[in-house]
Amino acid sequence: MQDTLLSSPELLLVRYGELALKGGNRKFFERTLARNIRSATKAVSPIDLELHQGRIHVIPERRPLEVARKLRDVFGIKTISPAWGTDNDPEAIVGMAGNLLGQILPANPEQPVTFRVRSRRANKRFPLDSGELDRYVAEKILPGPERVRVQLVDPELELGIEVREQRTWLFHERLRGPGGLPVGTLGRALCLISGGIDSPVAAWMAMKRGCSVGFITFHSYPFIGESAKKKVIDLVRVLGRYQAQSRILIAPFTEVQTAIRDAAPEAYRTVLYRRMMQRIASTLALKYHYQVLVTGDSMGQVASQTLENMTCVAAANSLPMLQPLIGFDKEEIIERAQHIGTFETSIKPEPDCCTVFQPRKPVIRGRLDECLKAEQDLDVEGLVQRATEAAESLTLDPEG
């Protein structure tokens, strides 16, 4: 009964998670998710998109498996099932089911396999209810391969059947999406990004919870070369897999660092750099309509991340600040970075601006009054203004 080689799947059944729970906002969430799906797949294939109850049907014109792979990075999506269609007719369904089972059985004919059929009937005019259809299909296809045994709980293979108005869809796998909320449903955040491991992970976590994330980085040319800037852009490009378009602001930082070097106590340089970064980022956030800042801080990881120093830094900031990695260990952050795909880029050896005039012994328990005192000799306002005015803004498409 098998042996017609299956063609590519016709559509992708996309299931989304918690956004269905969000009551009145639901339409907005669904539309945002649909838009994100379109932009994530547009370079691969034109798609048709149908919104059904709790499901999105994505119908790619070509390369369906590649489209499915793209969808695995779209926040808000829980699972994706490539599906094959047939007529709303029990015999046709049985034919397709047998075919599908034949394709997915493990190659080793000795190996026994547990299996179940699970149907959903959205079309109530279909003659069998879902339990009847399960049994009907299972009974018809099972006499074939003898090694297949029905097991209703936790089987190795599951054949899914969805009976819809026009057609019935069959599938055998559920690819995991990233979960979370569709990017753009929560608001806009500006992430301070360096070439390191942490900040790209922090940006990803903000995206996962529905933020549309912009980026700001600081560049101390010519103490730091163009390739350090390119590294940050490369990281943003990797993160572009998870949101449609990314803006990156590149603020010149040489003047700030030189001024701090000349005016402030050496031990306070790093803390003061970071206070200036907060000010510049806050100013640019307002200009570009970001509501919050995001940083990759994790408590106690480096000298500038003691509670005292983080307090000194946060005090310079006029916007709320999200620190999604605050309680993570380095190993946990690295694991995420590997999963996200930024790790390989992050570990390329490039200096970043924090290494410029790096203090030999940075202060561990910085004091805010010392920061304020040191800043009395700095033209804080002028430095912030010049850096924000000279900041360069790039928009990166996932493909470019």
């Binding site: 010519p222 103490f223 070369g225 163009e226 050896p349 200096p351």
Partner: protein
């Protein structure tokens, strides 16, 4: 801003004559050189003419010139091809001896052969940055099957005494093949495989004003070598794959020009280096790193300079911001971020070795450019001189 390009050991600008020679092969003459119609035969003849030019420039016979995708492929082909040919001939895997400052395409290839049963021994530099010939003697054993020694060092232009190395290899390791990476020598030194008395030599087109993507391995006649690439049997079976006709034509012309300009070039490079050394003398704490003496000489086309204060990288970016393009270490090392073993051998500490910047010249470099670069150096030196670290 005026750009002064002083990183010619990384790559060189394309000579207009070279560009012109290759153009027809990118346009109407696009045919496959293996095709039997006249257009294909015509392409195949163009490759033969290029082969003759490269052969003449390198003192080899045309049939012993194999076109590759560049120096890295030529080095891989030599190391794997020569070592595996010895193995295929039923000999013991044996020893591979590599020089102290080999390009990664030689060193990493040799190290990869450890998995195939070969033993790899690297010879040291002495404290003057010269080849340690006594250590070489000791490394050479009758079991040695391959010796690799570069000709011109890509960091300070030291010229290693290849003829002397060849003499010792023949005496102590008579079964060994001697491969020479001559990538930085072409156009700078008289270069002849016969005169040097070596078995194979690799060269790269883009170091002599041709586009990237071409190069050659030249060999002495009857040298047994296993191919790296199998397929349609092009290049007499030594390197399968449809030939890069336009690139090969360009490379042939570039090799011819490099050879033609060679004797004039030596004087030119000496004049450039003298002008450059004059500029450096006026700067505080800046010094040209000199290597070699006695049996070594140097190519004036490559200089390494020690700068005080911040790391070489900071100097490099300050110079580039004013239009002077240079590099820290070789381009290959710049990607790998290692500290140059050659600089350590010269007695520099690791942090000092990071304060070294490489300047390299081409036949297109002018004394006037060097003087203009000298002005920039003086300005940057003032800016950076004040910074402790």
């Amino acid at each position: 801003m005026r750009i002064i390009y002083l990183d010619n050991a990384a790559t060189t600008p394309i000579d207009p004559a070279v560009r012109e020679a290759m153009t027809p092969w990118l346009n109407e003459a696009f045919f496959n050189p293996s095709s039997r119609y006249p257009q294909g035969v015509n392409a195949s003849e163009a490759i033969d003419r290029a082969r003759a030019k490269v052969a003449r420039a390198l003192g080899a016979r045309p049939e012993n010139v194999t076109f590759t995708a560049g120096g890295t492929e030529a080095n891989n082909m030599a190391v794997f091809g020569l070592a595996r040919a010895r193995q295929a001939a039923g000999e013991q895997s044996g020893r591979i001896v590599i020089g102290p400052t080999e390009h990664p395409s030689v060193e990493e290839s040799a190290r990869a052969l450890v998995r195939e049963g070969f033993e790899v021994v690297q010879t040291p530099l002495d404290s003057h940055g010269r080849l340690d010939l006594e250590a070489l003697d000791q490394a050479l054993t009758p079991e040695t099957v391959l010796v690799c020694q570069m000709y011109v060092n890509n960091e300070f232009g030291s010229v290693y005494p290849i003829q002397e190395v060849a003499r010792r290899v023949r005496a102590r390791a008579p079964r060994a093949a001697l491969h020479v990476d001559a990538v930085q020598a072409l156009g700078k030194l008289e270069l002849s495989i016969e005169e040097l008395g070596v078995d194979s030599m690799s060269v790269s087109a883009h170091k002599v004003h041709a586009p990237k993507g071409s190069g050659s391995l030249v060999t002495r006649a009857d040298l047994a070598m296993q191919p790296l690439l199998f397929g349609g049997g092009q290049e007499q079976g030594r390197r399968s794959g449809t030939e890069n006709v336009a690139g090969i034509v360009a490379w042939g012309e570039a090799a011819r020009l490099a050879d033609q300009h060679q004797s004039a070039s030596s004087k030119h490079y000496e004049a450039i280096r003298r002008a450059f050394a004059d500029c450096l003398e006026r700067l505080d704490g800046v010094r040209l790193i000199e290597t070699g003496a006695e049996h070594d000489s140097r190519s004036a086309a490559i200089c390494s300079v020690f700068f005080p204060g911040p790391p070489g990288e900071v100097w490099q970016h300050h110079l580039e911001a004013k239009g002077v393009l240079v590099s820290i270490g070789s381009a290959c090392q710049a990607k790998r971020k290692g500290v140059s073993p050659a600089l350590l051998a010269l007695g520099l500490r690791a942090d000092e070795a990071r304060q070294v910047v490489r300047f390299s010249f081409a036949r297109t470099t002018t004394v006037e450019e060097i003087q203009a670069a000298g002005e920039v150096l003086a300005t940057v030196s003032n800016e950076l001189g004040a910074i402790g670290r």
